[in-house]
Subunit: 326 residues, 2 copies
């Protein structure tokens, strides 16, 4: 019997989840839920209803897992605990500092409802976190380095767009080769923020705007750019559309540790993604499978990727995995 999936929120991530569900033979999308007017929303999957989020309130029997595609700043802290009381839920909560409290809130709600809530799925947090924990467990006392990019950072792109005179902007985070090479050598270098990543911005300016002022405002913006070497390119709206429409991303977790009398080992997990939201959506969907199965075995409460055995993510049987993937 197919796993019935509901999607709450239909931005880039919601559409990525929709594509991932469509690629899974063992799942079916039964509804997309939105806080906006459902009649204004057309989704890609034919024959699947779009409903107002209010229709989730009393618990529905056509949802085995609700995948919550909201923002970490304000949406998820409220939504995930709320719906975890009624549904098995998955989110991609990524405000690292607030993960412990979010976990506690989701856990309380999910335990009460007898449901599972898997939080902070995706690739970072998510697959990168797994890579850090596996490596640290095998080689205790080693050092993990995380590099992001080359890819579009939506938060940084938004920050540039808020500058006066900017019509549109795209920001790429780029890891610095020299730092990557040093880490891959196993030398455990100490690296400053500026030494690890650089930032490249493509900006469409209003006609008559002072480009020098915009560039200065970007490069000196605290937290976002001031600690990095940043380059700024002014381009036309046509160039933006033609060359920067995608949302590629990726990165690497590189862990180096020692064993015995100084033998060095380097473990690297890296991703090169054409579409950040589609890959993230695919991770959420694999964990939705796990949530459904674990809950059917009687497991409840908040979980993270650390708590889920890999076999639960796969549509393949244990026999098949052992015979062909081990």
């Amino acid at each position: 019997m197919s796993i019935k999936i509901g999607i709450l929120g239909y931005g880039n991530l919601g559409r990525g989840v929709e594509a991932a569900v469509a690629a899974c033979d063992d799942m079916v999308l039964t509804g997309v839920y939105t806080r906006r007017d459902p009649s204004g929303l057309t989704i890609k999957t034919e024959g699947v209803p779009v409903r107002n989020a209010s229709e989730l309130e009393n618990g529905r029997d056509d949802i085995d897992v609700l995948i919550i595609c909201g923002g970490s700043a304000t949406d998820l802290p409220e939504m995930t605990p709320k719906y975890a009381a009624l549904y098995n839920v998955i989110d991609s909560f990524d405000t690292h500092a607030n993960i412990p409290s979010h976990f506690a809130n989701v856990n309380a709600a999910a335990e009460k409802g007898g449901k599972i809530g898997i939080i902070s799925c995706g690739w970072d947090p998510g697959m990168f976190s797994l890579s850090r924990v596996y490596a640290d467990s095998i080689l205790p006392g080693g050092q993990a380095y995380t590099f992001w990019g080359k890819g579009v950072s939506q938060g940084h792109s938004d920050a540039v767009r808020r500058i006066e005179g900017v019509l549109d902007a795209r920001q790429y985070t780029i890891p610095i080769d020299k730092a990557l090479d040093a880490v891959r050598s196993g030398s455990n270098p100490e690296l400053s923020t500026r030494e690890k990543h650089m930032r490249e911005c493509f900006v469409v300016a209003e006609e008559g705007a002072d480009k020098a002022v915009i560039e200065e405002k970007i490069k000196t913006m605290p937290n976002y750019f001031a600690d990095y070497d940043t380059t700024v390119h002014f381009i036309s709206a046509e160039e933006m559309k033609r060359d920067h429409s995608g949302l590629p991303h990726g990165g690497s977790v590189i862990y180096s540790g020692k064993t015995g009398e100084g033998n060095s080992h380097v473990v690297e997990y890296s991703l090169k993604l054409d579409s950040n939201p589609e890959f993230t959506g695919s991770v959420l969907v694999a964990y939705a499978r796990a949530a459904c199965r674990l809950n059917s075995e009687g497991v409840s409460g908040a979980k993270t990727v650390f708590d889920i055995a890999p076999a639960y993510l796969s549509a393949k049987s244990g026999d098949e995995l052992r015979a062909h993937y081990l």
Copy 2:
């Protein structure tokens, strides 16, 4: 309370496990067991007894997990089921074709004894298998490529040593850059055995041996070398000792898959290991921690890396992992 570890077998892998246990604050080595005369064996850890394997027969209360460091051809098929009836056990069984039957045998014994037997731990099978299953679960329908090396293949080195006139030999398996690049591009190439890896042999020949004959015998050896491009270097015993004493290894699992309307994603997990047995031993020890914990929760039977949630491998608490590794 520390996890009490016993090691059965004290070759390269047994010594790697010993080094890994010494690096874990939550574990203690309580004994090394050998089928040979224990009085002939001196181990590295001071104050730890070496005993004959026969002393394992009736079950000992100073072992929480027995790590079995034997060969896959004849040792493990007999040993792992035998000891799984009495102890939580870990092995590194790597004869891929026989994993299903080995799993069934270990499962029957472990279930009967109420113990856990985790088979086929290490990096391939092991961490590479995990990497294949995670990627396949997230991006169903994609393609996995596994490359080994650069590293010493002990089986291939042994095969060369058995040739008449050969005193010593070391064989390196080397992935071919052109194949790696093609796979990393996401183009899903079809690659023959010869296109993926090459083999390089360093040979110490007997005085007066016909080197041309030895080289020909190596290069045409079925299964081991005939399907590869192989280079052979004759060196002195001193050069062998000086330049080829280590057991480095490594490799990469590269998985590429698509989402949505043709967006391509490449996931790569790679290892660069100074010491194959010490890294493998470190993986076995992390899974020993998991075996001990799971068994204390009442879980029994045969398991593989697919069945173990990552948090069980770590000495760190769930709170700590969520706060610092997610």
